[in-house]
């Protein structure tokens, strides 16, 4: 039986920090907060980059450890109309320094740093990215520099975010390490109950019999307080007797079980209602979802080495458990149900005990694996980590990070093994792939119209629509590039789309291209702020390794007010 000791009241009172962060700690808890506080974020900005600044705002507020802004520009008047973290007196001063100053006002616990060095020289330095836990790059950027950043991020396993925010449209892509597991996915509590009524273990079966054996002679009050799990187990025994030892399997059989067995027990008692309502979702075998089986079968889980990450050791051990028992370790949670207090607590403890036993078995396997692979005791896997894995096993998520797509000036845009999927996206009216293609075209425009400012006569980055004289010409160029990308996808996939669909797709993309040129590279504050919200949320997920991050590209269309996630 669980015992809790009463803490003296003063110790139970929340600390100043817990008070400040109360509303978010209720989501990601102390471990998530700790991860956030150990983070050092690097933002690389070459334009007003307000979407990125707003991202930082949403991370400084919840208490990210440190952030750095690399931006060599000075504040212009146009910055004041779009960036909230500048004041009139910032004019002519370094944009990075001023923005850092005003962002730091939001939270005294956060450290901010400004880097005023040009990006070209910054990235040539040795180990320049090692201090950072996450890199955020805002377009526009010289694509060859972006490729260098990508290479470093890949090598260091640092998550890399790349974003666009132009007029009514925005985009971001996330480059995660090739294996990015999330154990604590926070699934919907109603979707997670695993009660094992089809495969009860002896202690549970025993308890159910004890609760139900004298059901016909019980007082109405007692009968109305039998926990519904026991009712299900009781009627399942009856069903087995009537059906040669089998359990209700098909949807129809489950309905019959509910209506002709459970419901017959009582027409209107609440616990019988609960039992009836639980039939369809509780009478399931505890099979591993396909995402989890993919993890079991992943090469990282099959071929452990002494230094494999703990995740793969535990995955291997749980895979063995699954093969041996034909089910996952029991999570152990029991939903609330009509019952007497003492009976409910006993039932809870029966589940908890079984969950602990299952977990102990997995821990034992992990220890054997550690031994057989020769893993040193310093790398011993923490039991708590095994416990968390066991509890959430059915909902564990693995993101297979892919390298960021970069448009280089002299290379065609290709999609590799995703080309066919992209054709499917093109024909799906819900998809915002057209917007993604427009942003690729925008990047290609920048790549082909930029002359490095470090070269003599170089004008730096030029974005489409940035001056009125070339507005119409830029529109035409953008549309041309975008249409070329569409045809490139079809060629690469070896597929065709017939008219009128083909023309409709191209017309749709043309409209977005016109919108991007219209903005001339400028941000609308609302769209920047919204995008900063989305990116900050994804950064938090990636840092805390909680919830499920976007895999791997997200688009927002501020005209239609909707978003879409693409896997590129």
């Amino acid at each position: 039986m669980e015992t809790t000791t009463i803490e003296p009241p003063l110790q139970a009172l929340p600390t100043a920090k817990e008070k400040r962060y109360d509303r978010q700690l209720r989501l990601w808890g102390a471990p998530g907060q700790r991860a956030l506080e150990e983070t050092h974020l690097l933002l690389i900005n070459s334009s007003p980059g307000v979407a990125a600044v707003e991202t930082l705002k949403n991370l400084v507020l919840p208490g990210v450890g440190q952030f750095s802004i690399l931006d060599p520009a000075v504040v212009e008047e146009a910055d004041l109309g779009v960036n909230f973290f500048l004041e009139d007196e910032s004019l002519g001063k370094f944009r990075a320094e001023e923005t850092v100053k005003y962002l730091m006002e939001l939270n005294p616990d956060v450290q901010g740093h400004a880097i005023k060095e040009p990006l070209e020289t910054f990235i040539t330095k040795d180990k320049v990215f090692t201090p950072y836990t996450l890199i955020l790059v805002a377009a526009p950027i010289d694509p060859t520099i972006l490729a260098t950043i990508r290479k470093h991020a890949e090598a260091l396993h640092i998550p890399l975010f790349y974003l666009h925010c132009v007029g009514y449209h925005s985009h971001f892509s996330i480059q995660l390490p090739p294996a990015f597991p999330i154990v604590d996915t926070h699934p919907d509590p109603t979707a997670t109950t695993d009660l094992r009524v089809l495969k009860p273990w002896p202690a549970l079966q025993e308890f159910a019999r004890e609760q139900t054996h004298a059901m016909d002679k019980m007082s109405g009050h007692d009968k109305a307080h039998i926990p519904y799990i026991c009712l299900l187990l009781h009627y399942l025994e009856q069903w087995r007797n009537d059906h040669n030892g089998t359990v209700p399997d098909s949807y129809k059989q489950k309905q019959e079980f509910r209506d002709s067995y459970v419901r017959k027990g009582s027409p209107d008692e609440e616990n019988f209602d609960e039992a009836c309502a639980a039939v369809l979702k509780s009478l399931i075998s505890p099979t591993a979802p396909s995402a989890l089986r993919d993890i079991f079968n992943a090469p990282e889980a099959m071929e452990l080495t002494a230094t494999s990450p703990p995740f793969w050791f535990i995955a291997n051990a749980i895979s063995q458990f699954y093969t041996k028992h034909g089910g996952l370790p029991l999570p152990g949670a029991v939903p609330d149900m009509k019952a007497q207090s003492a009976d409910y607590i006993r039932l809870q403890n029966i589940y908890k005990t079984k969950a602990r036993e299952d977990c102990a078995e997995v821990v034992a396997t992990v220890r054997e694996l550690e031994k057989s692979t020769g893993r040193g005791s310093k790398l011993a896997i923490i039991e708590k980590e095994v416990e968390n894995f066991c509890k959430g096993a059915a909902h564990i998520h693995l993101v297979r990070g892919r390298p960021l797509q970069i448009v280089l000036p002299d290379l065609p845009v290709t999609f590799g093994d995703r080309a066919k999927a992209m054709v499917f996206e093109l024909t799906n009216p819900e998809s915002l792939i057209g917007e993604y293609i427009a942003f690729l075209a925008w990047d290609e425009f920048v790549a082909t119209h930029t002359t490095s400012s470090s070269v003599k006569g170089g004008k730096g980055l030029r974005v489409p629509g940035n001056n009125d004289a070339e507005f119409e010409a830029d529109k035409e160029k953008m549309v041309g590039i975008a249409h070329k990308i569409v045809d490139g996808i079809l060629n690469e996939a070896g597929e065709r789309i017939e008219d009128p669909e083909y023309t409709e797709i191209k017309d749709g993309i043309e409209k977005i291209c016109v919108e991007l040129v219209r903005a001339g590279g400028g941000e609308l504050h609302n769209i920047a702020s919204l995008t900063g919200g989305l990116i900050a949320q994804e950064v938090i997920k990636v840092i805390t390794k909680q919830y499920v991050p976007v895999d791997n590209t997200c688009l927002f269309d501020g005209v239609a007010s909707r978003s879409y996630v693409l896997r590129v």
Binding site: T4, I6, A12, P14, A16, E18, K19, R20, R23, Q24, R26, P48, E54, K57, N58, P62, G63, E77, A78, G81, V82, F84, E87, D88, G167, Y168, H186, H225, D336, Q340, S341, A342, Y344, I345, G465, K511, E515, R518, A519, G520, G522, E523, L524, H525, N526, S529, L530, G533, L534, A536, Q537, Y547, V548, P549, C554, G558, V559, R562, S563, V565
Partner: protein, 459 residues
Amino acid sequence: MAVTMQAVAGAPTVNGEGPNRSRWKYLDRILLRPGGYTDEDYDPETPISNIEAAKILVIGAGGLGCEILKNLALSGFKNIDVIDMDTIDVSNLNRQFLFRQKDVGKSKASVAADFVMKRVPGCNINAHVCKIQDMDEDYYMQFTIVVCGLDSIEARRWMNATLVGMVDMENPDSLKPLIDGGTEGFKGQSRVIFPTMTSCIECQLDMHAPRAAVPLCTLATIPRQPQHCIEWAHIIKWEEQRKDIVLDTDDPEHITWLYQTALSRAQEFNISGVTYSMTQGVVKNIIPAIASTNAIIAASCCNEAFKIVTSSAPFLGNPEQNNYMLYTGDSGVYTYTFEHQKKDDCPVCGNLPKDLAVNPELTLGELVESFAERPESQLKKPNMRTEEKTLYYSAPESLRQQTEPNLKRKLSEMLVDGEEMAVSDPAFQIDFRYKRDCGGVRGELNESWLVCIAIGVLG
């Protein structure tokens, strides 16, 4: 029919000797150039003068409100009012970014308005530290758009009913678009309402069904969860032992008392998991809130306001177009943008009666309780009367005492067939009309009893 905002006369023009707009370089690119979705007759001169002349009312200066004020100011709006009666609490500081530690205890509306006016020169924000119910129709009539960032359903319903009630078909200016945002953790929604023309807050009420309450008998006799022990301490024990002290959920001594009372009860029943933080959460009904979701929803609301005023892109809320964006961010990023249909039987903006089955064997008291839980009504303190007699009044106290005995009587004893019953709640400007209709021969009342809700907004 498309909704468009009229050009406002008397506003400064961009051509010629207009004010210096170099600050608004990026904004003006969008406004001065036609886009991929603008009408063919898009006139670049109207949007800027419309923005400068528009008056926006922001309701709430909390998590959403701070963002909304910043966003409107940086969208070029110059005239903004904000209403919020709340003061700043330390737990606001993780997202309400216009407030600092030194501001704790001060008015949210005033501090937020001052901050944004300092950051964005030329933007004028009037702060009102009061309830929305303290303002009259003349006050609300001066605004172009109302943007709501509230955590209370009651206040939203009141504002919605007021704006619907203000619509005068003869006067197009009386139609005030209502843009409403709401968040909870990683989830949220933004919606645009053109009162009387599109689905309103009341039409959408069943999208936000109230949480089922734990039965009192569970709290009193068979607690099973830590929350049950906390509710017992809160609802039963406090009344019993500290009746003379008004519970202040911000007083650490009060929360500590509830926590300890709940904890000892939990130990008595071997229930684990009661913590101080959980006690606070249950007693204050705390909803998790983070900066990122607030940013997303507030920006979506302001983006719609900006599009409505400038016509620079299609906006949500045109009749027969999408008017609602649902957002979830806990698993990936997901939005569902759709048209919520206006309901002909909406008690605020509809004109048809609503059918509802109620057992005539119910007592009036049971019916009163059910009004609080019904997703489409959610009335906590209903007053009920027929043309002939008063059935029950929740307030004032004298009337409540007088009508209390009726609560025990069955509906079938109190109303004759076809008789109308009006139900109202002082919290809203909504009047529900119910009609008893046995739909058959007299005396067969044990079948289901059809109740019609007819509609009327109190003037």
